[in-house]
Amino acid sequence: MSRYGRTGQLIRLNLRRDRFRILMWIILLAALMTSVAWKFEGIYGTQSEIAAIKGTLASPGIVAMFGAFSFTGKVTTAEIFANEMLLFMALIQVVMNLTLSIHATRYEEDLGITELVRAHAVGTLAPLAAAATELLLVNGFLGILYSLGLTAANMPGATIEGNWLIGLGLASTGLLFGLLGLLTAQLADHSASATGLAYSLFGLSYLVRMITDVQHPRLTWWSPLGWIEKLAPYNHPNWSPIWLSLLLALVLAQVAVIAHDHRDLGAGAITTRPGRRNASVFLRGPVSLIWRRQRNVILGWLIGIIIFGVAYGTVFNTIGDILKTNPTMQQVFGKAMVHEANHQVLLSFTSLLAIVMAAVAVIPGMQLILKLHSDETRGWLEALYARPLSRTRLLFSYVGTAFITSTLAYIGGLGGIVVMGDASLKHVQDGISASEFWQGVWAQLPEVWVFLALSVLLVGCWPRLKAFSWFYLALGFISVYMGSLLKLPTWVKRLAPSGWMPRVPQHDVNWTTFSWMIALALVFVLIGWLGYRRRDLHMS
């Protein structure tokens, strides 16, 4: 039996197992891309609209979030589209690939399913090869859909070559990170740490891209995530990023095979050490148990988000120096006005980032709350239920840890931006003041809490619908990240709590909104708590 024996059968099995998951991603992504392309002429159809957005896109704050693109000559609607959508779609595609790849390999292995499969006449590398093929098929199919969708949308300035470049470029970037997920699945010793490792590398390539984009766009070639920006699909079509991605993907696949050969099933390339013989004095209840189990994840998130914030802070001196882009300004307006203008630019940059940070900070908390349900179904709580431990205490141990984690993550991230940003400035008075920082904190925390409270409600009352929390968070994230550039209508931006508060510190905190958002969060938690006390707990 060859090492790849029965890969075909496993591919069919994988596709069948993941059919809803895959279908959902494909529909969402293809619909997002195509519908934006469809509407784009209406948003940026005229030359004056294009000229206005061109200036915005060149500002360092937007470059930090959407990538550096160069425009020459007459700029078309399609070029603006590529600038706004490429990196953003790539981010979502990477998330999809990391989820699919680790779910298809390491997660199955943790559940013991791989062991069952491998006991049959199946090649040693077949599960890995099947997962890789699944990724190839999903990305390829999605890429073709993108290209066809863009061709159908027929934006002014779009070319057939450019459409295919975007579709296949996103597909190859997705595949590249999917294979990275397969590799980390071989290195780590369980799915959670594989996910953590993969996202750390993803975050690193995002940071490299962001810093190089703002300072030296030529160096963005050093980040695989930056390659997508180099496609320049509608002005100077360039296929080399695709070849580079595919080449690196092939290398990662090879390394994954080597790592796979050097480990036992169920173990990682990094082996586990023996641990404590007795519990520490500290480990004595549900909260310390969560901390003991999740401390690496929690600390990882806190440190990661602070680094993320600090990285954004390093671009303050580039962004907050209007004289760089407009050297004559000081002679015209005088020093004070220049400082004021710099301050305003930084304020609006920070306000935008604050919303992004808040959305990111929700993730670890939401994971913890949903973990209450996944721990329940995986039987890990059964040992706790049989103890004199009320459901109320159990619920609030998870929920409390989650709220604290997200709150700290948000403050840490925003703090990273502001502290590093102010430190990088030549004139500190241009930067964000302490009171502006705290305004930013108070403005976004209710939003973080409402998202978390919604998860509590779902886990407490309708645990089967818990995936909705992620969907809703994604909606909130997309509507604030892309909302103004896509000129989304106000009601769309108001669908999620991320759109309820005005942008702070650019504007003041609206304390009425603040109060009722807090009240809403409390009500959600309260109903979730009542539901959790009443419902049957599910067991595997």
Binding site: G275, N278, A279, R284, G379, Y385, R387, S390, D536
Partner: protein, 297 residues
């Protein structure tokens, strides 16, 4: 008579349209080991989960120590120990940490008894739970339960992953609990284990308790196996109340089963035909089990 530790009255549980428990009624007395047997999917674990307050009964009621299992679960759990059938442990904690944590959650501590149990069961407490086999995961739960000083112990198929040596350790530990006047509810598939340890037995089928009582009481409900060698040509098939007659290897050798009600009549008749050898085997729990489940002997 003392008040029972566990009392279940016409307990019912519905999952949607599926009636998992139709009518469960039994009780467990202090100092008693109660065997709870039935095939897969009959409702054993569902019953236990209702008793633990994990799921809520849709009808009937159940009390432990005289307290309602749903609304008073926290106070009940103070004096209760439980070992689930499938033990899932937090993968990145060591066995030793988990044992200590579980004890602390009951306000108990790691004692010399705990160390003794760890040694006896041969568990390496420094290993991460992720690396434990099914048997080792069960040992963790068993050690935590046995080192706890509870009044009521619930074991849900606790030995399904243990080797015979550890299985015996388990049985000794349970008999020790019994000697100390503790009540035990033991759900099991291993009928020899139940036969050896349990004072009373409840048999569950499709969500219903179909029989409770001691093994001796239950034996009356079924047939005794007789193997006999007679001295003459008597044809045993003429006897009333016997079943499954087979002739032995030699002439005059017979094997058959007798309904308990006819036993003395059959014996009297046989005695008149020069019994050379006679062996009577009471039904084992396995025979009883088969009797209830298949309707055959």
């Amino acid at each position: 008579m003392t008040t029972p530790v566990l009392q279940i009255n016409h307990l019912q549980k519905k999952f949607g349209h599926f009636q998992a428990l139709k009518d469960i009624t039994f009780e467990v007395q202090p100092g008693e080991v109660f065997g709870f047997i039935g095939p897969n999917g009959a409702g054993k674990s569902t019953t236990i989960r209702v008793l633990l307050g994990i799921i809520r009964a849709s009808g009937g009621d159940a009390t432990i120590f005289g307290k309602n299992v749903w609304s008073d679960s926290v106070r009940i759990h103070q004096r209760l120990a439980y070992v689930p059938g499938d033990v899932y442990l937090w993968p990145n904690l060591t066995g030793g940490e988990i044992i200590d944590l579980l004890l602390k959650l009951n306000g108990a501590t790691h004692t010399a008894k705990t160390d003794d149990l760890i040694k006896k069961f041969g568990l390496d407490p420094t290993k991460k739970a992720r690396t434990y086999s099914k048997g080792n995961r069960q040992k963790v739960a068993l050690i935590a339960a046995f080192s706890q000083d509870a009044d009521f112990y619930i074991f849900d198929e606790p030995t399904s992953g243990l080797d015979p040596l550890n299985e015996r350790l388990f049985q000794e530990a349970v008999l020790d609990l019994k000697a100390h006047g503790k009540a035990v509810l033991l759900s099991s598939h291993i009928l020899s284990e139940v036969e050896r340890m349990c004072d009373r037995i409840g048999i569950i089928r499709e969500g219903q308790i179909i029989e409770t009582g001691s093994l001796a009481e239950m034996r009356h409900l079924t047939r005794t196996m007789i193997t006999v060698t007679l001295g003459d040509d008597f044809d045993v098939t003429t006897l009333a109340g016997i079943h499954g007659v087979t002739a032995g290897h030699h002439p005059h050798d017979w094997q058959f089963s007798v309904e308990d009600a006819q036993l003395s009549a059959v014996m009297n008749t046989l005695a008149q035909h020069q019994v050379i050898a006679l062996q009577s085997t009471p039904p084992t729990l396995e025979d009883l089990f088969m009797h209830y489940y298949t309707g055959k002997e």
